[in-house]
Amino acid sequence: MKPTPRKRSLRSRFRGGPGRVLLAVGLPVVLVAVWWAASAGSTDFYRPPLSRILVAFADTWTWDRIRSDVLPSLARLAVGYALALVGGVALGVLVGSSRTVRALLEPLLEFLRAIPPPVLVPVFILLSGLGDRTKVLVIAFGCVWPVLLNTVEGVRGRDEVLSDTCRSYGIHGVLRLRHLVLRSASPQIVTGARQALSIAIILMVISEMIAANNGLGFTVVQFQRGFQIPEMWSGVLLLGLLGVALAGAFQLAERRLLGWYHGQRTGRRER
């Protein structure tokens, strides 16, 4: 049977191709233009014109600066985030697979989750000093929760028929973990990982603002304390851009990892 060609609606035309790009970029462009126009000729010390901020941006974020402040931040972020992913998924599989472990750990996990991670920065400083380890720990501790809780849900919610299939075809151990447990939970794990990523960025900045001698958070605070206002604003801009870039990278990874999931859902809707 040949699918009947359908006229593409205006909406679908906007959602794919150049229309989509226009929609995605349109509002930011308008906002930047408004900012530019509204701040042009501003003499307010704390709200410099956007043109000055952009000049400061180019002057500030040189390759040297990137190496001395941006890369260390990103490294902490990467290590802390990776720890949270691995730890959260591993613990989540354990908690999700066993009712006993769940009953045992749930109250403790609820308690730990309720502690706002920035509060732990001074504690971690006492315990592990002012170095990178403290920041990595704060990031990992703060963003492990969405990964952990979503993994637990995903592992618990796996399909019974598929579990039975594994049992009757003798699919045990590592194969089962890889092809049944982790894969069925992967949509939820990805949801948790996405939430965790934004928390990780926040904690990276906060931990560097409190105790660091380099990094993005540290630099922004230094500029503010030194009344280098355009430079400070440029740091904020850079953090925003970094967030967008990381979210984009995340989306690419998700599309690869969850291609089957989105395909399945689209297929179901069309049928």
């Binding site: 399909d159 028929v161 598929l162 039975d164 299939t165 049992r167 009757s168 075809y169 003798g170 699919i171 045990h172 194969l175 092809h179 049944l180 894969r183 992967s186 089957w260 999931y261 395909g263 399945q264 297929g267 179901r268």
Partner: protein, 259 residues
Amino acid sequence: MLEVWNLRKVYDAHGRRVEAIGDLTFTVPGGQFACVVGPSGCGKTTLLRCAAGLLPATAGEIIVDGARVTSPPAGLAVVFQEYGRSLFPWLRVRDNVALPLKAQRIARSRRDTLVDEALAAVGLADAHTAYPWQLSGGMQQRVAIARAIAYQPRVLLMDEPFAAVDAQTRADLEDLIRAVWRRLGVTLLFVTHDIDEAVYLGQRVIVLSAAPTRVAEDLAVDLPADRDQLTTRADARFAELRGAVYAQIQKVKTGRTEP
């Protein structure tokens, strides 16, 4: 060979006791194609899950090839009704069929041969790289059948495998499963609620009573081995057998109030 001895299954949940299977005894000799029919809710799926070792029996025992079933036995494959949920949506068709073989640590070259043959046998030789959700329902069930074939079971259990596909696909799949059974010589227990299907497919039809389930009737199907959707279903003997099974099911349905 599949033996069911005095099987009894009682579900005990939330203070409610449901006796799904009362006392069930029958034997399917090696290589036989046996169909199980019964009124809805008569514990057909429970029987199959017990036989597959997926559900512990309350009493009685099930013996597959001489060994008592306590957990899913080796050499036994199951095709579930919910094809959409029994295939791994994240694996391509080929990998779905190959995964149980991988679990058995069958060498790669042998695995490839088995998968190729199985997919060819169900008419999916050109769908290796598709994902299950890209296929129609009937094709998905073919993949599940291919997976069972590649597993080379001695006993094959099928739980209303064609209940969720359209009538024409269903007829094709019925002929497919007859062909597969004849080629493999596998012992096949086929659970269905469809009387016509049971008579058309089986060498034997076991009619179950309403819950608590017993064997109400055990009927040999003496139709020729070569069956055909047109001529077999038009056969007078087919109509006779179909009528006998139908009457029996009506009897167990209305007889439910009797002690």
